[in-house]
Symmetry: C2
Subunit: 467 residues, 2 copies
């Protein structure tokens, strides 16, 4: 991934199709290359003035017309990458895009690698590593909640929290290091009891962040929901009823690719993702169903299980079913909602009574509905959003969405645990200092204060080209 | 399609995916709408100065962050549409795009209909109708030749030719109309003989354009090629050999969608499109093959037939096969290339001799090759491009690529034929004048001097949204 920073790079930045496309160029040679392919000639003053001007003209290749374009020049450091940069806005034809790229490369540009523009932005100090990662996340975000988390990270809110923790650890470390300087004298400057309190406080914050990853990751990728229940209780029609309205909303939004993704549902700014659990859905035998390990894993991995029963079942049967599902997911943090389907088969009174009884028996949310009754579907949607701790979204800077950050924070937590163990066991300060340094190192990985080269390569390889 | 021109319209202008997306806005309310959703505030001077400035900032909705964007303002008439216009360059997320569009619409913009930006450009006199149509063509162009034809049309070369013809017809018409003014006196001002000469000259030019449509349309859509021959002569391996090299070239070009299109080949800036002729390929019985009407139609509709024989056939058999294909396509303008496949089975000398003999017998180009010999494949490619009158591409303004223009020019030609018939039969000048006016009317349709409303609707409905 590493490349001399004096290379000028170019890549298409927009997707396929549409009316116009954009090619992005960045590097010290940008203006020279543009001047070679663009007419009318941009005079030196404009090139020097540079930043934030658009120019209408033609791109020519040996006098041959390639396209009418709009060129925007960005002068370093006032650009995305922090380098001299340009965007060529041309007609959205793959043929023209190809000719443009050939022309740029012939004139000295190199085809950009995935994420190379954003990597340069990071290297040139335009954003920290966690913000750079948020660029990919904000592009991928497909719900209000996911967008909000990515926005907070992009704008540096998350980085500031990490930096705050890091500073607390650094000032703690300085106390420890001070002790080390005088270690021959076997002095303990700081009160071990107060120190333990400080570490516990920091570790609690870190552990809170670690714990938030389950929610953050679910929001980022869509909250996984499994619909469980014996055959013919109406799981498919329930899913269809949930999705049908959504599909209608989605279909008239231009530019969404939603229609290719099956079985996702937006409620209250959250994206719910219905996982296909063939094993659960098709099994005729409840015992067999309970025994299938794969099914258990799917249930545990889901954020929510909709346990579907029929209105003609007894309250006791419903509670038993809910109980068996609860047993499967116990300890995993998975929420259960009991759905009494086909409630149109019984009276509203009976349905209301059933809801109450089963809720009392099981202590979990119960929704009586039928796939044809919108009111029941609305109630279920409310129950779905209520199962997600949306309250925590009020402080999105405290939610981890990135697996790399999660790993780093876990390492921080482990290092801090070793520090606490060390205090308890009276381990020499020199060993404790190592663990403290390690905790600081792992926190630094998140924002990119410390950036082993292979980490950079890995992060940006997941970007799309042109970003 | 019609809409009050004081509506401000907005639409995503780039395709799906990628790193950035562009939303286009046009109309008198553009700057006001931008000022409502964009921070930092754009002061009045900037708004007035307007054109050709980019602004970095955020789009907010009730204080909630939507995205970091770059906004480019274009002040009327210096914009694509000729109206006040803007482009919002945002992160390529369908969610953000949707929020942006909602925000723009909430603030008074209307979602643009397909082609509405270009239609406004036409209505505001930024381009004529043929140029507007070329915008769609240049986006769709996927070969050098198709791009060249669309470029010439976009830049007005074709329009100028049509306008030249129109002017000649108008000055001719003025002579006729002059006669009409004095018709009671039964005067013939102009020499009928000279007039006939003028009309013949104009009609020849029009007929030349009409005839060019076959080539123009083939270049625009890809030149249709049929591979014919009895089973097992190696048609598939020949096709694969033709395509394999091409595929390798295509695969490392970013942004091409070529891989989803089966069986197309770029040679010498031309796109050849291999038509699936199952009937031809699969038939075991040559007689049956010859008798299939559908096959004949496919052959006639193709620009080129590769008539494939085996090196072990006799020269006489080859000539006979070429003759039967020629009989099928006679009068259609379809070219034939005789391919002697599996030439590795005979010596180079024998192959060379066969080529000569069969070429003499048939008078059509003959290429001896084997699917594994690159030299033979290269020779076939040369022969393919030679079959297309590429010389005519030196004057792309004389080539019609658009079916609507073709129809109009045919009507012009028919009207002019009636004028000639009228002269010959001594028809009264008043009737001749009608036909001349009709010819002028049809020419005017091409560039949009005359624009019945339904024509506009039809043309722009075929555009993509955002163009």
């Amino acid at each position: 991934m590493k490349r001399l920073s004096d290379t000028t790079i170019a890549a298409p930045a927009t997707g396929h199709g549409g009316a116009i496309s954009v090619i992005r160029i960045s590097g010290s040679d940008t203006f020279r290359i543009i001047s070679l392919i663009f007419v009318p000639a941009l005079d030196c003053d404009i090139m020097k003035e540079g930043g934030y001007r658009v120019h209408y003209g033609q791109v020519l290749h040996n006098g041959e017309f390639i396209d009418d374009v709009i060129v925007t020049l960005f002068r370093a450091p006032a650009s995305y990458t922090g380098e001299d940069a340009a965007e060529i806005n041309h007609h959205a034809s793959p043929y023209i895009q190809q000719r443009m790229m050939e022309l740029l490369i012939d004139n000295g540009a190199a085809a950009a690698m995935p994420g190379e523009f954003t990597m340069r932005a990071f290297i040139n100090g335009k954003m920290d590593l966690s913000q750079a990662e948020a660029v990919a996340d904000i592009i991928a975000a497909d719900s209000e909640a996911a967008h909000r988390l990515a926005s907070t990270q992009l704008r540096g809110g998350f980085s500031r929290e990490i930096e705050k923790l890091r500073k607390e650890l650094v000032s703690f470390a300085s106390l420890i290091e001070l002790e080390l300087d005088f270690s021959e004298e076997d002095v303990q400057f700081a009160d071990r009891y107060a120190m333990t309190g400080t570490v516990i406080k920091i570790k609690d914050l870190v552990d809170g962040l670690v714990a938030s990853f389950r929610l953050g990751n679910a929001i980022k990728k869509g909250i996984p929901v499994v619909i469980a229940g014996r055959p013919n209780v109406g799981k498919s029609s329930l899913l269809n009823a949930l999705l049908s309205e959504e599909r209608a909303i989605v279909s008239d939004i231009p530019g969404t690719t939603r229609d290719t993704i099956e079985e996702v549902l937006h409620v209250g700014g959250l994206l719910f993702r219905f996982i296909d659990t063939a094993g659960l859905r098709d099994s005729d035998d409840k015992v067999e169903l309970l025994g299938i390990e794969r099914t258990v894993k799917q249930l545990e991995a889901s954020e929510i299980v909709l346990a579907v029963t029929e209105a003609t079942d007894s309250a006791r049967e419903m509670a038993a079913f809910a109980g068996s599902v609860a047993a499967m997911v116990s300890g995993s943090g998975t929420k259960i909602i009991l759905v009494i389907n086909k409630s149109d088969k019984i009276s509203d009174n009976t349905a209301g009574h059933l809801e109450e009884t089963v809720a009392e028996l099981t202590g979990i949310p119960v929704v009586a509905l039928s796939a044809t009754l919108p009111s029941g579907i609305d109630k279920l949607k409310e129950s779905l959003t209520a199962s997600v701790e949306t309250g925590r979204l009020d402080n999105p800077q405290y939610i981890v969405t990135n697996a790399r950050h999660y790993e780093a924070l876990r390492s921080v937590s482990e290092s801090l645990q070793r520090v606490l163990d060390g205090f308890r066991d009276g381990i020499p300060t020199v060993l404790i200092a190592t663990d403290v340094r390690q905790a600081i190192y792992y926190l630094g990985l998140i924002t990119g204060r410390i950036t082993p080269e292979d980490i950079l390569g890995e992060i940006f390889a997941n970007f799309c080209i042109g970003k």
